[in-house]
């Protein structure tokens, strides 16, 4: 197999996606869920930059990547704010218990 830097980057994307998904599948802590989401998004950004390098339109993908990073940071901020509030009001960060709260 032709091992070039771009192939390694793509392998990295797959590895990070796998790690992120595994984390989301197994974790029940709200903050950890947000951390795993961060890993997934970083994989997506790496994928975007690699794709830009392959197609030679790096600047277009860079601007998209910046959008993704901004969006993702907002998600992290709001997620953390929620976590703090939920911890204060409900007293747990376990997503399983949170989903059984009703009304």
């Amino acid at each position: 197999m032709n091992i070039s830097p771009l192939n390694i980057c793509l392998l990295g994307v797959i590895g990070l996606v796998a790690a992120g998904f595994y984390g989301l599948l197994t974790t029940r802590n709200l903050i950890k869920v947000v951390i795993m989401l961060q890993i997934l998004v970083k994989a997506a950004v790496l994928g975007l930059i690699t794709a830009g390098n392959i197609s030679g339109q790096l600047y277009v993908t860079q601007s998209m990547a910046i959008t993704v990073i901004v969006a993702d940071t907002i998600v992290a901020v709001i997620g953390m704010a929620f976590a703090i509030q939920i911890r204060r009001q409900v007293g747990t960060l376990d997503t399983n218990e949170l989903s059984s709260l009703r009304g």
Binding site: F21, L24, L25, T26, T27, R28, V33, T95, N96, S99, S100
Partner: protein, 582 residues
């Protein structure tokens, strides 16, 4: 200029909706003022738009390769719809100042009504199918939310869900149609589709034609998908007048008329439209004849009148159908708003508990009779000209049996309108004495609409002229108002139908001697009263949808880990499929 007007017509009500919400329910007076001033401004901008009609897009917003270009084409067909939405809308809002006085959730009410008005105008003016779908769905949502406005009442909630599910059939049909058209024509533009309709494969065209017809039937409450409309009468009455009589239910007729040139040559399509219209006109009239609830009777009458419009499209008279659409919007809104004045005054919707209101509510009585004249189709009122035009076209271009059916419908209309007027306004009073005879703002909008009843037929010439200019595919001929009026008055069809109307009213007056026949027909009336079995069909659709969602609810555990498992599992399943090479 035209672009700005289009934006104003759609945007002003939406801005108004936001402003009313921001005003807050603590300041009801300000809310009333904001809502009425902005809706009047929107109404004016819509009327001014009549001078800027065009068959070319005046505003194009490119939305990228997937969604195509969102265009606004203010042609006569669309502007007519926008004008009706905005003008009747502003009158309904003005009526609401008195009708909704003291309600604690004015913000929600006005916001939804104005959101609806803007979306309805947009539905007419949009030139892209996808944009049209977008507005179509907003109208469906607003209709649902306003039917269920009184959300403490389980009946209102159930009626809202029913209306939403059934009109969604129309929405889905429109979306699928838009996607199919895009894949064959390569564009979402309606004009592009009308130009290239003949090049489409025959079976696709047939599918589209009947799919759109089904969508129109659901939205316009035609038989057999009509039962949501009477149930929708749980909404506040100005909403019934605006959404369920004057505007949203016209969207189906509009759809059929809009695509008429494309589907005209599909065998059986025009006949189907005609038959749907005729059956709806007849059954609607029959059910209006036995309904005891004033608003439900008016709703059945709406179904019947929409049937006339479908019939007109079926015989190829697009202009006649749009003319009747205009007349119907005015007089039916008038009748509904009268009902909106009567019902709170006497405290019931049951016509059997009314009676004798002629003396205690003289003003409402007068305007109600004006509206009834138009509904029955007696001279000088706008309904006379538009309905006679439809019948004349039916006699000339349609089959004889259909014409006779429609004529029967005319007689039945006269009969049920006489019954309605009599039960509400004549005879002995059976209930409470009314507490008022229409409050000030109610009277303002009722007066405006009754003036409209006598004057809108004068617009026939302008309308036909505009339609001839801006609808290159429909083949409408311009004709002067008085030429048209002369033609209608001199046509034999008119005299026949006037005779039938007189016969209908006569039957009502002579109902005592004819009591024997009436008793004979009692079992039939019972069956009609129960909705002729369509209720079960419609309820079946609703129950099916609900059961499906209940079944699918099991897949929503609400637990993050399992949801992620679903996502990843689906991803790998897709990859596996690709791997196998399906």
């Amino acid at each position: 200029m035209a672009a700005i007007l289009v934006l104003l017509t759609i945007g002003l009500p939406w801005i108004g909706a936001l402003l009313v919400l921001l005003t807050g329910n603590e300041r009801p007076k300000l809310q009333h003022a904001v809502a009425s001033i902005i809706s009047v401004a929107a109404g004016i901008s819509a009327v001014v738009l009549l001078w800027f009609t065009s068959d070319q897009p005046v505003l194009s917003i490119p939305m990228g390769s997937v969604f195509g270009v969102f265009t606004f084409v203010p042609d006569a067909l669309g502007v007519l719809l926008a004008v009706i939405a905005n003008v009747v809308g502003c009158l309904a809002v003005i009526f609401s100042i008195d009708y909704m006085k003291g309600n604690e959730q004015l913000g929600r009410y006005y916001a939804l009504v104005m959101f609806f008005i803007g979306a309805m105008a947009g539905l007419g003016i949009s030139g892209s199918l996808l944009l049209m779908f977008f507005f179509w769905e907003i109208t469906a949502f607003c209709s649902y939310a306003l039917i269920s406005f009184d959300n403490d009442d389980p009946k209102a909630v159930a009626a809202g869900i029913k209306a939403l599910i059934i009109t969604q059939l129309g929405g889905i049909g429109l979306l699928v149609g838009a996607l199919i058209i895009n894949s064959y024509v390569g564009s979402y533009q309606i004009s592009a589709f009308l130009t290239k309709a003949e090049t489409l494969p025959f079976n696709v065209l047939v599918l589209l034609a009947f799919g759109f017809l089904a969508a129109a039937i659901a939205k316009s409450a035609q038989v057999p998908l009509h039962t949501w409309l009477p149930d929708a009468m749980e909404a506040p009455t100005p909403v019934s007048a605006l959404i369920h009589a004057a505007t949203m239910v016209n969207a189906g007729v509009y759809l059929v008329a809009r695509f008429f040139p494309a589907f005209e040559d599909v065998p059986g399509w025009t006949t189907s439209v005609l038959v749907v219209g005729m059956i709806s006109a007849l059954l609607g009239a029959l059910m209006a004849l036995v309904a005891a609830d004033l608003k439900r009777a008016l709703a059945y009458s709406t179904i019947s009148q929409l049937g006339y419009m479908f019939f007109a499209v079926g015989v190829g008279a697009v202009f006649a159908s749009q003319f009747h659409l205009l007349s119907h919007a005015i007089f039916k809104a008038l009748l509904f708003l009268c009902a909106g004045a009567v019902i709170p005054a006497v405290g019931t919707r049951d016509m059997r508990q009314m009676g004798g209101l002629r003396k205690t509510m003289p003003f409402v009585f007068t305007v109600f009779v004006i509206g009834s004249l138009a509904l029955v189709g007696l001279p000088i009122a706008n309904g006379f000209f538009s309905k006679e035009l439809i019948l004349e076209e039916g006699l000339m271009h349609g089959p004889m049996w259909a014409y006779i059916g429609m004529l029967l419908g005319v007689g039945l209309t006269a009969l049920y309108v006489s019954r309605m007027v009599f039960m509400v306004f004549y005879g002995e009073s059976h209930g409470e004495k009314p507490i008022h005879d229409g409050l000030f703002w109610m009277r303002v909008s009722l007066t405006a609409l009754s003036i409209g009843v006598f004057t809108t037929w004068l617009l026939a010439g302008v309308l036909s002229d505009l339609m001839a200019q801006t609808l290159p595919f429909h083949g409408v001929h311009a004709i002067g108002t008085f030429e048209l009026a002369k033609e209608i008055i001199l046509a034999p069809a008119t005299w026949i139908s006037i005779a039938v109307i007189v016969l209908g009213i006569g039957i009502w007056i002579l109902r005592e001697p004819l009591a024997g026949i009436k008793n004979l027909l009692r079992p039939v009336a019972r069956i009609i009263e129960n909705g002729l079995g369509f209720e079960q069909l419609n309820q079946g659709i609703i129950n099916g949808t609900k059961n499906l969602s209940a079944a699918l609810h099991l897949t929503q555990t609400g637990q993050l880990n399992w949801n992620i498992l679903g996502i990843v599992g689906m991803l790998s399943a897709l990859f596996a499929l690709l791997f196998i090479g399906v």
